[in-house]
Symmetry: C2
Subunit: 434 residues, 2 copies
């Protein structure tokens, strides 16, 4: 028995495996977790802001006093107790009984990622088209690529998705667009929020073309100045799948998210989830339920808002003080991210190893596009590092950029041959934006 | 806006949705969880046998003292700490460094179900063939159906999978079989264990035909009389994906399972899992790691063995004392299940509502076949109900069966028109078995 032939599985994989690639963010994880590196990559919440002693006490009781249910199997849809609490959370954003939201139409998922994956399973055949903001969430691109779907990016500016660009994308897709995937509020990676007026326009366009909307809303409650515009789902009860998660408002380590779906779709989602994971963790669900039932979760969201607002300010101030001329960036009113556009000629992917050598990390913009765009962009996270680290990170980053620019002045472009810039930072429309 | 047209999603679903059906087990869940029903359905471990106070204390500390990592995001493959512990668990069954097992080739999953689903994603295109025992795990059938694969059942008897039947199935599949899915030890639903001799024969056949083996081993450590035969993976290091879970030896409510895969496959599995769930729960992984590191987990497995052995005896004794003539059943040496074959003419699915009315539940055999077989079979679980409830459940069940037989004697068959019996109970080969 040689064994070696059976170690080569290349000709056995399913076709969808060809579309699978490691996310650039995840590939960075090992490097950026070194303590000497200031990581402006990642999208981790600042867990230390939680009352960990109280959470620990609650989790301990959940196992010791309720272990025979919290450590046991549950049902595929998720517990009714948690689904009721989820409806309370959604009501904060105006998604309530008056808009048809009901615990019966909620499916509990393994974080927002499984929510996305279930939607893809239900609706995407190979070759189908998905419309999505350009740039968009890297994990969504991974899901759509694994589903062998084609992503067509729809341009955005400082007001979010551009309605005319959506109309054009629908027309170009020739009826093959299965849904619009959108993060209307404090978008990942840009931090941009779709305006009130455009929300209505986007909904009208989708309604007119019978296009399903997948609204991803992990950040909507994390607003820094007043409340964010109401979600699309709060304005319209049909034709929308609404996705969210407790990863940004409580704890990502529990992996609890959800989908609010039209009833017919909800049944299919539960079947798809059962085939995928049998049932979500009863313990994680119990933890979130207890957290919402017994702890001041609304106040905790306010704490997160304050912490992140302070860090957003630190990042914006540092960028303003230190970025080389020609750099632009977004000014988010909430969420976790700023999207920056580098001065012409700089390649964010080519520059990354030098940035890491200078002990600062970011995510190159290309990770957020399915089409190779984004080489001139970077995503900067401000939720995890404290203000002084953020400032130090920007200092290091600007040093690397100055060096790159100096090298470029002497030796010419050091970028990859097919350098393409993505749409400019959304609050300062660049030449590529209509 | 009428809204009603957008509530009909029938023409939008992906093709794979056609293959999705609710598992008969899950559909029963609501009914069988009523306290007055003796449920011999389900496959839940007896969580009350765990030291819940100590588990609670451990979980509390995990959040309060280690919250900034245990409640945070992690990496897609799972923590190195847990993967090292998993290697210790596998070493109990002879899967150790000498057989090439390494933490680097372990992928942590959301229970055994996600492990199966990831394997299907990696290897199954629509129309591909999967070979599996007949009957087999209902959740695996759900995965293969969602992947639009065809399941071809391979006959088994009291010694497990029949080698000649596997040879014949491979020949009939004409090269379209992607892998053999097998639960060699204390199989679900039959409780049957593949003999030592046949393990070698099955491995030889798969090696000769270049057929990948997916070995599912959730029950292997739960043996009642001595140790079970070593897993297939302990005998051969190539061409095997080994799947297991902590759901039966610790707690299913945490949803932690794993895959040990050849290195090249492991990389793809991690990518598929990241697209599916981003990363497994850091908290659940921490809980299992702490459990394995600080609590007497080997002794706990012995406790589970004792509890289940006693209940297995209670079930076998009750069946012997009370079942109508013509009923046969398996005699498992471990695991959670007994598989019974009803007297000729009885239809397990048709009989189920009458059984539930008599306050006893089981799983009809049809759930464990992709081809409509199993109408004459039922699966009985002995891990969850205590001995006296098991005896009471069998008493109620035999009453229902006697009534059915009496009705049949008077009015003729009450079964569905296309009544087909599955292979007889594996320890008493019936007429359909070669």
């Amino acid at each position: 028995m040689t064994g070696t032939t059976q170690d080569d599985y290349t000709d056995r994989y399913a076709r969808r495996v060809r579309g699978m690639t490691t996310s650039e963010i995840r590939a960075l994880f090992a490097v950026t977790s070194r303590p000497e590196v200031v990581s402006l990559a990642g999208g981790s919440p600042f867990i230390a802001a939680l009352p960990l002693d109280a959470v620990g006490e609650m989790m301990g009781k959940l196992a010791s006093e309720m272990g025979t249910t919290s450590l046991q199997y549950g049902i595929g849809q998720g517990t009714i107790e948690l689904r009721e609490r989820i409806c309370e959370v959604m009501a904060l954003s105006g998604i309530d009984a008056s808009t048809g939201a009901s615990p019966d139409d909620v499916v509990v998922t393994v974080g927002g990622q499984q929510a996305l994956d279930l939607v893809a399973r239900l609706f995407l055949d190979p070759g189908d088209v998905v419309l999505a903001e350009g740039p968009t969430y890297v994990g969504a691109l991974g899901v759509f690529q694994a589903a062998q779907a084609q992503v067509r990016h729809v341009a955005m500016d400082a007001d979010g998705l551009i309605p005319a660009a959506l109309e054009a994308a629908i027309a170009q897709s020739g009826g093959r667009a299965k849904f619009l995937y959108t993060i209307p509020t404090f978008q990942n990676p840009t931090g941009v929020t779709l305006t009130e007026e455009r929300r209505e326009q986007i909904l009208d366009i989708c309604e007119r073309h019978g296009l399903l909307v997948v609204e991803d809303d992990p950040y909507g409650t994390l607003s820094f100045e007043g409340e964010a515009p109401r979600p699309l789902r709060a304005r319209k009860r049909t034709g929308i799948l609404y996705l969210s998660t407790f990863s940004k408002t409580f704890a990502p380590g529990l992996r609890v998210g959800w989908i609010l779906a039209p009833h017919a779709v909800r049944e299919k989602l539960v079947m798809a989830s059962e085939a995928n994971i049998l049932c979500p963790s009863a313990f994680a669900q119990g933890a979130v339920t207890q957290y919402l039932a017994t702890m001041p979760w609304r106040e905790q969201i306010k704490i997160y808002r304050q912490v992140y607002a302070e860090r957003r300010d630190a990042l914006l101030d540092a960028l303003r003080d230190m970025m080389p001329t020609g750099t632009t960036w977004t000014h988010p009113n909430g969420g976790l991210f700023v999207w920056a556009t580098l001065p012409p000629g700089l390649d964010s992917k080519a520059m990354l190893p030098r940035a890491v050598a200078a002990r600062v990390a970011y995510v190159p913009g290309t990770g957020f596009y399915a089409d190779g765009n984004g080489t001139g962009n970077i995503r900067l996270n401000f939720s995890f590092p404290p203000p002084d680290r953020i400032r130090e990170g920007v200092r290091r980053l600007s040093g690397v950029m100055e060096q790159e620019l100096a090298m470029r002045a002497v030796f010419g472009p050091t970028t990859t041959p097919h350098h393409r810039r993505g749409p400019a930072a959304a609050d300062t429309p660049g030449p590529d934006l209509a």
